[in-house]
Subunit: 239 residues, 2 copies
Amino acid sequence: MAAPFNSHEGLVPEIREETEERIRATQTTQTEKATLCRQTMTATTFRVRPAQPQDCPEILRLIKVSCPRTGGWGMGKQVPGGGQKVVEAPQELAAYGNSPDAVKLTLLDLLKDGFGDHPFYYCLIAEVPDDAELTGTLTVGFAMYYFTYDPWIGKLLYLEDFYVMEPFRGLGIGSEILKKLSQIAITNRCSCMNFLVVIWNQTSTEYYTRRGALDLTTREGWHLFRFERKELLKMANED
Amino acid sequence: MAAPFNSHEGLVPEIREETEERIRATQTTQTEKATLCRQTMTATTFRVRPAQPQDCPEILRLIKVSCPRTGGWGMGKQVPGGGQKVVEAPQELAAYGNSPDAVKLTLLDLLKDGFGDHPFYYCLIAEVPDDAELTGTLTVGFAMYYFTYDPWIGKLLYLEDFYVMEPFRGLGIGSEILKKLSQIAITNRCSCMNFLVVIWNQTSTEYYTRRGALDLTTREGWHLFRFERKELLKMANED
């Protein structure tokens, strides 16, 4: 597999609880710092790499800060890494009338689901140097993906979420993430990469279309349907 | 996991080659027989169970016979298990101007991808008694699924493909498959079940909507996008 991570090293439950508190407390500070940090950056100072278990607190922070919940699916896709509109992240959140509390996923879920024997997702993260951080880096973007299957053509790479913090856009971080995702797709014999975009998000649709993505909903009529938990419970218990 | 299958028992490459030939040769015969067989069936004679490696030839036959290729995604969803329109399968194929040869997936792919150490898909199959078959049963439907991930709510069950042969519709096989899928979703702590439907397929959309499924494309604007292999190769090799 593209990103084999099989341990929960260095994160026991007590630390996880504390870390979640820290995420909430430092969310605004991190995004303010990012704006300052961006001023001294050049295009060559970021790095994109596969996530490790110890990156989970930063991934969760980015999931929470990234984008609005409009009903169900991956949020980061709505404001992709390559968007050129630069605003501060708290304004971005406010603009969508959303709250990080809407994220039900916990740090423990992220660890368990992404780094166990059977990972349900993989992540790439983008980081920049930051002496003020214990790790010496600040995580400024991420892409969450996994592999799906098509009974006609086999394996696909599915891009579930993709986000670069606003102050760090326009540096090529989004393009570098897409490049690495493409390489992972090809290495793993995937015939294509699928993802969902909210059609009213013009920045996103233009970003992907410019790079050659096809809108299969408009072209072929594919609609995303969902049975919510209530309907699943009803069907599961039918006589 | 819901369906742990870890062996390729009883299927060596030579047999696979032969079996693929057999699939092609017997496709029409099977569907003609199914029409006759249907006449003597009652609603209680079918069985829905997790697929085993030895079911792969039948799954591939159903994938090929099931539905038209209109560009990319799972076909069976276009004519779901509960559709009430009963026509013979060859007519159905012809009506969509399609050919089973459009399926690129081989029996070896199906075996390797679904029954290795890291399965990319799982299947339920529906079968009916048939003394004329060596196994004593005829496979008349299947559902292909896997688990995906949402960074806000965690694990989902994704229904990739779902098909019941036309002569066997109206017996409750589709409902039984949906019931079992719902149970698998709940057992595996999935918050919902997602799937794609081509919106012009009225039979399908009515079938799912009647059971309470929500169309998230119409309600929230989610569009399916795709980077084809050509674009992936281009991005992967960018400087």
